[in-house]
């Protein structure tokens, strides 16, 4: 029986970078074969379609997320994974009620709005106030309190589109810090231009947390057409009054991480962890954020499992409660962060094609990192940095030094959909999904340390 093992030299010898770049390492045939077979994958689509159809929206801490966990456990067991289980944890839960907004003067008309996470509730009767507009967060910060006190603040900062999503960090400040700054200055409410790049009447929600000591106020996001409309109305120079109804409730609830495994031949070997998040925002069905991610990483692990037994165990982790504060990632880190991981990686940037691979495996594993680059290069993936990697739930673990890989997806269109009602299955391109699965399969084939073929195992339990 032929054994598909990685050449030991590739894993042990760190050649100088220049030499490596001149001559990329040879990719073992079984890695290339698994990668190319994955371009016909249907597992990822089936998971994405199933979760978004049979559960739909699954806000962290709610009954819907609990249904999603049940769905996930059943699905992962049916697929044959081992040790399928849920690590549960408690968390604060914020849920949305009725919400609406309208300009009441000088030009009465409704506006499309969604509350931001942890918004204070206006109560069903709503609030009405004068609107004071700011072009960006810096202008709000610079404003005298007297200009803001007793008013509804509007921040119209317009996000720009980037392939890697890096603009989210800069423009997202209006959502993350805007409400706290407005409250400190005495605002009675705050509405922001959605942190997004589309032109549809679908507001982008997202989490914000009032800073310590700051009084929570109602905080919402206008859709981008509505934000531009409000800006035009303000530009007329007349007093603008808005009615704002953002009803919400807060409570305590439970969430959990769903874990499944592909056992390794060496039971003491450190696992390779591949993750995604199970929860979604409540407005859409969480197709690109992040059912597709769960589909991709799970399909890749399944394909390795079906090919035989890897040296190292593969751990598939569908994190709970990512959107509202990375609660699942923090729970995992608390439980398992001190144990060794061979590598960790997460898919949580939509369903676009992978265009770059970064890694941070450590200086002594440069050959492994170079092999990884070579293995995914035929998929049109650029070999990126060897000392950087990121991820949402796994971010704290990466910061703590756990070796990590990042397969970066093209996110040029990601913020058209992110956290909106429009995040639905129809936005997922099946061919792009397959390219992702191929990249993750190749990565797992390399990182799991060689696969020993065997009879297809059934681990249903």
């Amino acid at each position: 029986m032929k054994r598909f093992l990685l050449p030991a030299a590739l894993l042990a010898v760190a050649l100088p970078a220049a030499a490596q770049q001149a001559s990329p390492p040879a990719v073992p045939a079984y890695v290339a074969a698994l990668r190319d077979q994955a371009l016909r994958d249907d597992h990822a689509w089936n998971i994405t379609e199933g979760l978004t159809t049979e559960v739909g929206p699954r806000l962290a801490g709610t009954e819907a997320e609990a249904r999603a966990r049940n769905w996930a456990v059943a699905k992962l067991r049916t697929m044959g994974f081992a040790n399928v289980r849920v690590d549960t944890f408690d968390m604060p839960v914020w849920t949305r009620g009725a919400e609406s907004a309208a300009i009441v003067a000088p030009f009465p008309q409704p506006l499309a709005i969604a509350a931001l996470g942890n918004s204070a509730s206006t109560g069903p009767q709503g609030i009405t106030g004068e609107v004071v507009g700011f072009d960006n967060l810096a202008a709000l910060e610079a404003a005298p309190d007297a200009l803001v006190r007793g008013k509804i603040v509007f921040v119209s900062h317009a996000m720009t589109r980037t392939q890697d999503g890096s603009s989210y960090g800069f423009f997202g400040g209006a959502r993350r810090q805007g409400p706290s700054i407005a409250s400190r200055k005495g605002a009675i409410g705050v509405v922001i231009r959605s942190i997004g790049t589309d032109y549809h009447r679908n507001p982008h929600t997202g989490v914000q947390s009032f800073a310590a000591g700051v009084r929570p106020i109602p905080a919402g996001a206008l859709s981008i057409p509505d934000a531009e409309q409000l800006q035009r109305v303000l530009q007329r120079g007349r007093l603008v009054r808005m009615r704002l109804t953002l009803v919400s409730q807060t409570s305590r609830g439970g969430s959990g991480n769903v874990i499944a495994e592909v056992p390794g031949r060496d039971p003491r070997a450190a696992p390779v962890l591949v993750g995604c998040h199970l929860d979604s925002w409540d407005l859409g069905t969480g197709a690109v954020d992040d059912a597709a991610g769960c589909g991709i990483v799970t399909a890749a692990a399944k394909r390795i499992m079906d090919a035989g037994r890897p040296l190292r165990p593969i751990r598939v982790l569908w994190f709970g409660a990512e959107e509202v504060g990375l609660f699942g990632g923090l729970d995992y880190q608390k439980r398992y962060g001190a144990l060794p991981h061979h590598a960790i990686a997460e898919s949580d940037f939509g369903a676009g094609r992978v265009w770059n691979v970064d890694s941070k495996l450590g200086k002594d594993r440069e050959a492994e990192a170079r092999l990884l680059q070579a293995a995914v290069a035929p998929l049109g993936i650029v070999g990126g940095g060897l000392d950087e990697a990121g991820g949402s739930d796994i971010g704290p673990m990466i910061a703590a030094g756990v070796p990590a890989v990042e397969l970066s997806q093209d996110g040029t269109d990601y913020f058209d959909l992110h956290h909106t009602p429009d995040d639905t299955l129809d936005k997922v391109d099946r061919e792009a999904l397959r390219q992702n699965v191929a990249a993750w399969t190749a990565m797992l084939a390399v990182l799991s340390g060689g696969i020993e073929p065997g009879p297809r195992r059934s681990r249903r339990r």
Copy 2:
């Protein structure tokens, strides 16, 4: 003083079609100049921006449409038009209240919905029922009553995209006849896949009227992603139950046509009528349907007025209450249909570029029709038929034999926006708008029979 008059020969002599096609008529220099100057037009944008910003949604028969009429009268007077007035009429008024839909079993989740015009009200408590799905209207028609009775009917007919919008006729049947057919068979409610071509969570509303003797039932349109979701849920083969809340009210109300004129040198000459409709559906701000149309035709008339005095009067007509049953068009026909019109034309197919010109001016005016074709050809406009023309409000008058012209816009994307919340100003392309104004200006320069320059007149009143 030079007179910009059409050569008499061009208006009087009908050359054989083949000869005309071989040698298009020479376009008078002042027509070409007015056309080309209109490519820098700002009037159309200012009207479109102003109406959508300062009024916003303006459903027929409501207080919002009345505000829109006031806005229109003030705007048309400020622009210098003569005889600005409103012809009022009474009409039935249907208005939307709270609305929502949800799958309650087997996979509980909300669905994005909007009631269709003249839907019955479910009352605030809503209705719940089993869903029975049909792929198209023919399948619903063929279904035995027993399959439908007591259930909520879902028709999932998927509209296809066409440049000229002709698919609206075929696919629109699900909206126009679907509710009546479902009611006849005993359905307690009906939801259709939106008559549209986009993939956003924005339902397409639109008018439907229950046939005589048919009991009105609640009738709504799901957004296209939601319709596909419901279809996937139904395909699981389990019993699907839906909760449907579509609150609405009906009453009597008033609407009106706003009329303005550019006087002609010959006060007894039949006018050239250019129209659009002022009302909009309530979900968006009616930017492409039809503020842009009002901007285009009014800008063209304004440009002629500013150039001097045409031979024939130009009548600008912003029809009221088009969306809900062509009430404005019918009122105009009743009042003025028996009087001669030199030609009528309407802009009501969005804000895309004009690509074709059809006309139906009569056999004795073929030279004028050919000149019109030649005048707009440099704008990339195909010379179409000489025995056909269409329009929404003016449709009944065309059917009655009034000479008409149709400048056809590219509507490939029109049904992405039509009757949705997404019909907002950001969808209007300023350059395409200018190309429209240039086409309408050239058309008016030809049809109004020659312009005599004069001091710029102020007709404010």
